[in-house]
């Protein structure tokens, strides 16, 4: 019986860097071939024998900058995947030819970096596409794929969040909505409401999906499943150890694992569980009954016999809840 494994591939190149992005990225597109060579070597060096790959995620950066040939070379290094295969695309670099190539390679999910349905917001964010291009890209993606996700950003100072129009919502299955952050922390005192149709269920703090279209890959991260990351700055959880690659694009190396105590693991499980609609198992919260009751009285969590689940109000102050429960 092979162990399930998820694979993350990082492609750090972009036409233009966005100020708000904190992933490893660069604009030195002349290095793409050299990078992909190193990436392929890294993948080939990994022993997949004990594993069945369940999900693959190509993130960036802008993976849609890769030519179909380049992408095919990368996939040639990977074992077969029997589940979700996602590629992140920029609306302005998605083409019909690429969509066909993705299909051929077994990619079955597209994640589009739409970011906003307001041109002024896109301009201020420094994006190189506009709303019209985004709408075109969504229509194109929908033609080829029945699992399309878009990324949006909210809580941008001096801008108002624009909910995707109904005709767009009809074409997509999944939406990630991130709050613009400073130093990883959403403590900016703005919290724009998100009003989506009820068939988009908020299954994680920042993620909404139609039933059955939750991101399998991301759920692996959030539920403690094993994953291996390839490429600059990619993270892994394997054999109960978390480790990552350094961020130097052409000379990245695997860094020493960060030691985790059982207490650390426990704290992580609570942090991740609180973010999910499925909540945290009660058996992880031994001795916290009084706290749980208090949180419930304040409408911050709902409690079932097995689980504690953050409410919409609770999701806004998850850090505070976590601090009470660990």
């Amino acid at each position: 019986m092979k162990k399930p494994l998820s694979v993350y591939l990082h492609f750090p190149f972009c036409e233009k860097r966005c100020g708000y992005c904190d992933f490893v990225s660069c604009t030195a597109t002349q290095d793409i071939d050299a990078y992909l060579q190193k990436l392929c070597a890294e993948i080939r060096a990994f022993d997949f024998t004990p594993y069945q790959v369940r999900t693959i995620y190509l993130g960036g950066g802008t993976p849609s900058l890769m030519t179909p040939e380049q992408l095919a070379n990368v996939f040639a290094c990977l074992p077969a995947c029997d589940g979700e295969v996602t590629i992140e695309c920029n609306p302005n670099s998605l083409t019909r030819a690429k969509c066909k190539a993705y299909q051929r390679l077994g990619i079955n999910r597209l994640s589009l970096g739409v970011q906003s349905f307001d041109d002024a917001t896109l301009r201020d964010l420094g994006r190189i596409h506009d709303v019209k291009q985004a709408v075109q890209a969504i229509n194109l993606a929908h033609e080829f794929f029945d699992n399309v996700s878009i990324d949006l950003i909210k809580d941008i100072p001096e801008h108002t969040f624009v909910t995707p129009p109904a005709e767009i919502l009809a074409l997509i299955q999944h939406i990630s909505i991130y709050s613009l952050t400073k130093d990883d922390h959403c403590v900016l005192d703005t919290d724009e409401p998100v009003n989506l149709p009820a068939d988009f269920v908020r299954y994680e703090v920042s993620n909404y999906a139609r039933a059955g279209y939750e991101s399998r890959h991301n759920l692996v991260y959030w539920t403690g499943g094993e994953y291996i990351g390839f490429g600059a700055g990619a993270h892994s959880l394997l054999n109960n150890q978390r480790f990552c690659n350094s961020s130097a694009i052409l000379t990245y190396r695997r860094e020493q694992p960060v030691p985790r105590t059982p207490a650390d693991i426990h704290d992580e499980q609570i942090m991740l569980g609180l973010r999910l609609r499925s909540g945290v198992a009660r058996n992880l919260l031994v001795g916290k009954d009084a706290e749980i009751q208090m949180l419930a009285e304040h409408g911050l969590v709902t409690v079932t016999p097995e689980r504690v689940i953050a409410t919409a109000a609770g999701l806004k102050v998850l850090n505070q809840i976590w601090l009470r429960l660990v």
């Binding site: 993130g59 922390h185 993270h235 809840i321």
Partner: protein, 593 residues
């Protein structure tokens, strides 16, 4: 015995007492210069940092004068008003006192109160004018002031610089020439004054003694007259300032006695030590020292209660004036009600708990001991507001009053009068001490001066005024208990007993202050001040709008956890009161209202 001189040094704070002591040790060769650590007699770090002495360490010095060898016993005394009784016992162990006066400051409050204390103990006063190295020194002016204000002759007072070591020999010569030698009879039954003690891990309580009659040596059966307890002597000796055992101590000597006394609680400062077989008359002046300021001390982390208890026990070993009893607060859990001699004493103890024992503690508002008369004729002593009976059961309160003396240059009289009157002080009289100094006498409730009176006095007099006070009985007062409600629940640790006339303004100020101190939380926190069932002030800490980590994808969980842990570390200094998180400094901050 004619070759012994027992003396102490008294001074106002910062007039150079410890520096002179250092120089005496150095000039007599008791401590080599290279071994001198500045202000050697103040052995605790905290004392050294604050430049004040708390513990008394008597030191034996040898000095050759006119071909004879003299034994000079220096008994250092604490200089703060909190420790007046300890000072008085040390003074009783001496025949003379060096009175140091700063040549730039002149006679100050503590100069006077300590000088009078020394005179009351029939000590010969030897004035010394210090800090003549400073440009502002006015030796002749200070000489006149000492004569006019203190009323002792200062014509021969050596003008010295303890810092630079100028004229230290003159001080030593005058000690021998002018201070009387002890009198007493070695052949009479043992009569020794226990003027201080400290705890030693191997010897138990080490009693610091002055022998007036008789002798004491190892193996003697001794008896404490006030407590009636008997012990067998295991070691006697003196300090150089190192503890140095010797064969015996005789009448006139100052030294130490160890007798397998397990804790300092078994003995009382000021007690008379004699022999079990042949007891003497008790020495006069013994009294039990009672704490005047009380506060609750709680660990921030509830599971540190045991550690806090151990720490207090250890401090108590060395500090018989420290009193504590178990106390339970609904808000803060298990802790202690601790009694102190004064606010400085309290500050020292809380700082030592934090520094030496590495404990994070919460100190509740200091309180004094009130006498509460109930409708059914009972009389209760209450120092913790939560122990008060219900308001309807209280007939009336009595509160402790002190006689307050403030010395000030005339230009600040108005400001100080306002300050004392606003604190419910009753003006008694005013005395002009000399051209530039006035003594103001007030009766004032103790609870009005335990908070920040000293600081306010200093700030409204530009630092020139000084004060001293002593208990002056109890007086009926219109007091009320003020409760603070957080999230609708009374937080007993924040309750205060206040005078009715200021209750409203205090309640309002307190609620406003708490609103600023308490960080925003997951939910709105109403803060209310209440007297009886009546709300007199209300403020609200608004709820946090948002506190959540950003997107959690790309698999980088480690960084998120780091951020959360950082946030958690910031919470370590917070204390949960019900559902509300309170920074520990809140308890101290509210005192400043």
């Amino acid at each position: 015995m004619k070759k012994i001189r027992n003396f102490c040094i008294v001074a106002h704070i910062d007039h150079g007492k410890s520096t002179l002591a250092d120089r005496l040790l150095e000039v007599t060769g008791t401590v080599a210069k290279r071994d001198m650590e500045a202000q050697l007699l103040d052995s605790m770090d905290l004392e050294r940092e604050r430049g004040i002495t708390i513990k008394l360490t008597p030191t034996r010095m040898l000095y050759h004068y006119k071909g004879e060898e003299y034994v000079l016993n220096l008994i250092d005394t604490p200089g703060h008003v909190d420790f007046t009784y300890e000072v008085s016992r040390s003074l009783a162990a001496c025949e003379g006192a060096i009175l140091i006066v700063d040549a730039t400051q002149g006679v100050e409050a503590q100069t006077l109160s300590n000088a009078y204390l020394a005179i009351d103990n029939n000590l010969e006063i030897l004035p010394v004018i210090n800090k003549i190295d400073l440009p502002a020194a006015d030796v002749e002016g200070v000489r006149r002031e000492i004569e006019q204000v203190v009323g002792v002759s200062a014509a021969l007072a050596p003008a010295i610089s303890a810092k630079n070591g100028t004229n230290i020999d003159q001080v030593l010569e005058q000690i021998i020439e002018l201070l009387p030698a002890p009198t007493g009879d070695e052949n009479k039954p043992l009569q020794a004054l226990l003027f201080d003690c400290y705890y030693n891990n191997f010897l138990g309580a080490v009693c610091l003694v002055r022998l007036f009659n008789g002798t004491v040596k190892v193996g003697d059966k001794i008896k404490m007259l006030a407590t009636g307890k008997e012990f067998e002597v295991t070691e006697v000796g003196f300090f150089t300032p190192k503890q140095t055992p010797c064969e015996k101590l005789s009448a006139g000597d100052v030294g130490y006695v160890c007798a397998s006394i397990k804790t300092v609680n078994e003995i009382k400062i000021g007690d008379t030590i004699t022999t079990a077989a042949n007891p003497c008359e008790p020495l006069p002046g013994y009294k039990e020292v009672l704490p005047v300021v009380f506060t609750g001390i709680y660990p921030i982390a509830g599971d540190k209660y045991g550690e806090l208890k151990d720490a207090l026990d250890k401090l108590k070993l060395n500090d018989a004036s420290l009193e504590f009893t178990k106390e339970t607060s609904t808000a803060l859990g298990f802790g202690f009600r601790v009694g102190f001699l004064g606010l400085l004493h309290m500050e020292i103890i809380t700082e030592r708990l934090e520094r030496e024992f590495n404990l994070d503690i919460i100190t509740t508002a200091p309180s004094v001991n009130y006498i509460v008369h109930t409708n059914d004729g009972r009389t209760l002593n209450v120092s913790n507001p939560s122990n008060l009976p219900k308001a309807v059961e209280i007939d009336y309160y009595e509160e402790p009053i002190v006689a307050l003396k403030m010395w000030t240059p005339p230009e600040y009289i108005g400001a100080l009068m306002d300050l004392a009157t606003n604190k419910r002080g009753v003006f008694i009289d005013m005395q002009h001490m000399d051209g530039n100094r006035t003594l103001l006498n007030f009766k004032i409730p103790l609870n009005e001066i335990v908070y920040d009176f000293f600081d306010r006095m200093k700030s409204c007099s530009h630092g020139y005024a000084s004060l001293d006070y002593e208990p002056a009985g109890y007086q009926r007062a219109d007091l009320v208990k003020m409760d603070i409600l957080l999230n609708g629940k009374i937080c007993d640790a924040l309750s205060l007993i206040v005078h009715e006339s200021v209750a409203y303004s205090k309640g309002k100020a307190l609620a406003e202050r708490l609103k600023d101190i308490i960080p925003r939380q997951m939910f709105e926190v109403p803060i209310q001040a209440a007297i009886g069932g009546k709300i007199i002030a209300r403020e609200t800490v608004k709820a946090l709008r948002k506190d959540v980590l950003a997107k959690c994808y790309g698999g980088d969980i480690t960084r998120k956890m780091k951020l959360l842990k950082k946030q958690r570390a910031g919470k370590k200094k917070m204390r949960m009161l019900g559902n509300v998180e309170i920074p520990s400094e809140a308890f101290v901050e509210i005192l400043k209202i």
